[in-house]
Amino acid sequence: MGIVKDLLKGLAVTGRTMIGTITGRELVTRPYPHVKREKPQRFHGRHVLNRYPDGMEKCIGCELCAGACPAECIYVRGKENDIDNPVSPGERFGYVYEINMLRCIFCGLCVEACPTEAITMTHLFEMSTTNREDGIYTKDELLMSPDGKVPHMFPDDPLADLGELDTADGWVRATAPGGRAAYQGVRMWAGTPGVGDWSPEPSQEERDRRSGDG
């Protein structure tokens, strides 16, 4: 009798889950290309090259991102700015900027390395292509337009969610304090068109609070 009882106990678990799934109470999957998962703020997705609110490019062509990249997938060439018609506020700007997305491991070290927050990550993760050339993103695809719109490889795709490109990743913000508690919650970067001025993550006190603690 004991054997039957133990078997039934196990079947009760499967039965309960089955009913929960049919009624949708315990449903954990979603019809993916049509319904997308909400991604956390720090999600590592496709890169974007930012501009300052006045339309200037943030990249100064310093190649720090290329040096930090463990997959060696960034290629940058800087060029002197034309004094009358500068592209970036500094002396130099990123003349060539390429990321080979086929090699990128989305570690985020380039974002951490960039001294001007020129390169950040978005929430876009659907980057499959049908040929290898399309895997190499150049400045045309990476650089946002002066109004903050980021180019999408396939803007006409009915399943593409262009909003994913507008969501900047919080990684740069998160690493900004560099591990020092005193710098948490302090704003320390320039705004970006489109995304606007990012607000800092809360201080440690607030971060460690439970929502129930009032």
């Binding site: 889950t17 703020q41 720090r42 001294p115 900004a176 591990g179 710098y183 006190e205 439970r210």
Partner: protein
């Protein structure tokens, strides 16, 4: 013997002795034993204590290849088994199908970039890999990470242990035919992966634990997420007990199957759940505590028989123990810095870059050249979900390791497979493999 024939053992940090080629160590293959030796190397003959029974007709003997593309060998493990009818007499795991030279890659990457590489070895417990690497580098640097970083490291690695054990239970269930267990295991692991994603931005291969601390503080509202995990997982564990532990079919398939005794386990350097299931109380967290894990209360779970069932029980009970640690860490999370304040090792806060030229220079130095680590060598081990995961680093004083070696628990545990499978029936193979929980990325590196 002349002096030139001896190549001095080189000590890191000293001048490397010039290599003198000698013919010492060359293998002489004599004409009479060369055939035998080649046969051994190619696996055509095996030296062991197996005695052929002449009573068994030849047509009942066969050699069967399982894998490397076999769904239940957990990645690309290939097994050559010698069958006598339905009984496995001998078996030989063949590895190397996932070898990507990651230890060598580690010598090309600076200490700053290193975690991106090691995290990809054992992909089910990436944070343990990062922790072992970071602890080794920190020991060479002789730095002490702040208490909050240590607590975050313990919190994240223990959560990682739970998620890894959930996959182990899931695949173990799937291999024996309990498909529901597979679905439940992966479903419940999602809760922990979501937590990781919120904090690190990635679900796996986080590049989160770095030499000097952790990359970033926990996400706002993390305590609520931990509370949810602490509330949900015990319920799920209860379900697993109802589904499998007390299930007579599950017991019939696992009790007494794939036994590894304590002596065998110790003899083969098996660590982790397979060792503890054999009744040996050995846990790196207790014997060589790291990251302040000795402050937290937990028990080392052991089994009695060392069979598939005991290994399963040890994993399930370790989930509960890890939850205890997670709860204690959450309640006692210290405040303060989460990276050492050492400009030579960690980049400065972003605001300092704009204020101070020196900070900018440090930032540039760290992200281009990396940081230099004093010459020396060290070995640090942590208790990964699969056993003792150690990292051995030799530094010659540069910004890259001169040599990096990882003691991968799956590799050693896999060596126990032939003894666990000897004289068992074919149907038990997959149960035994799954219970060793090998991760081929960890084995081959």
């Amino acid at each position: 013997m002349s002096d030139t024939r001896i190549v001095d053992f080189w000590v890191a940090g000293t001048e490397e002795p010039e290599f003198q080629p000698t013919d010492e160590g060359m293998q002489e293959i004599g004409p009479e034993d060369s055939g035998r030796r080649l046969d051994e190397q190619y696996g055509r003959v095996v030296d062991d204590d197996y005695v052929f029974d002449d009573e068994v007709p030849d047509e009942e003997r066969m050699i069967l290849n399982m894998g490397p593309q076999h769904p239940s060998t957990h990645g690309v493990l290939r097994l050559q088994v010698e069958l006598e009818g339905e009984i496995i007499r001998r078996s030989k795991p063949i590895i190397g199908y996932l070898h990507t030279g990651m230890e060598k890659t580690g010598e090309q990457l600076s200490f700053m970039q290193g975690p991106t590489n090691v995290t990809r070895m054992d992909y089910l417990s990436p944070l343990h890999n990062e922790l072992a690497y970071s602890l080794a580098v920190e020991r060479l640097l002789d730095i002490e990470v702040p208490p909050r970083a240590q607590a975050i490291r313990v919190l994240m690695t223990e959560l990682n242990r739970i998620s890894s054990h959930l996959v182990a239970l899931a695949t173990n269930g799937m291999d024996i035919g309990a498909i529901s267990m597979m679905i439940y295991g992966f479903r419940d692991r999602e809760m922990i992966l979501e937590f990781f994603e919120k904090t690190t931005g990635l679900r796996m291969n986080h590049n989160y634990i770095r030499p000097g601390g952790v990359a970033v503080d926990l996400h706002p509202g993390w305590k609520d997420d931990i509370d949810r995990i602490l509330k949900e997982i015990p319920k799920k564990v209860e379900d697993y007990h109802n589904l499998l532990t007390n299930n007579p079919i599950w017991q019939a398939r696992t009790v007494g199957v794939g036994v590894i005794t304590a002596e065998e386990a110790v003899g083969y350097s098996i660590t982790g759940p397979p060792l503890r299931a054999a009744g040996v109380e050995w846990d790196i967290r207790k014997v060589f505590p790291y990251s302040g894990i000795e402050q937290y209360e937990f028990d080392v779970v052991t089994g009695d028989n060392g069979d598939v069932f005991d290994r399963y029980r040890v994993r399930i009970d370790e989930i509960v123990e890890s939850l205890k640690i997670v709860e204690q860490v959450t309640d006692s999370m210290p405040k303060g810095d989460y990276r050492v304040d050492d400009n030579k090792v960690t980049p400065p806060p972003r605001q300092r870059i704009d204020e101070s030229m020196e900070a900018l220079i440090h930032h540039f130095k760290i992200y281009t050249e990396g940081f230099r680590v004093p010459a020396g060598e060290t070995y640090v081990a942590v208790e990964s979900p699969r056993g003792e995961l150690g990292c051995y680093i030799v530094s010659d004083g540069g910004a890259r390791p001169y040599r990096m070696h990882v003691r991968a628990p799956s590799f050693y545990n896999l060596q126990g497979l032939p003894i666990a499978m000897a004289d068992s029936i074919v149907a038990d193979t997959v149960a035994t493999i799954a219970s060793m929980d090998p991760v081929m990325g960890d084995v081959d590196r």
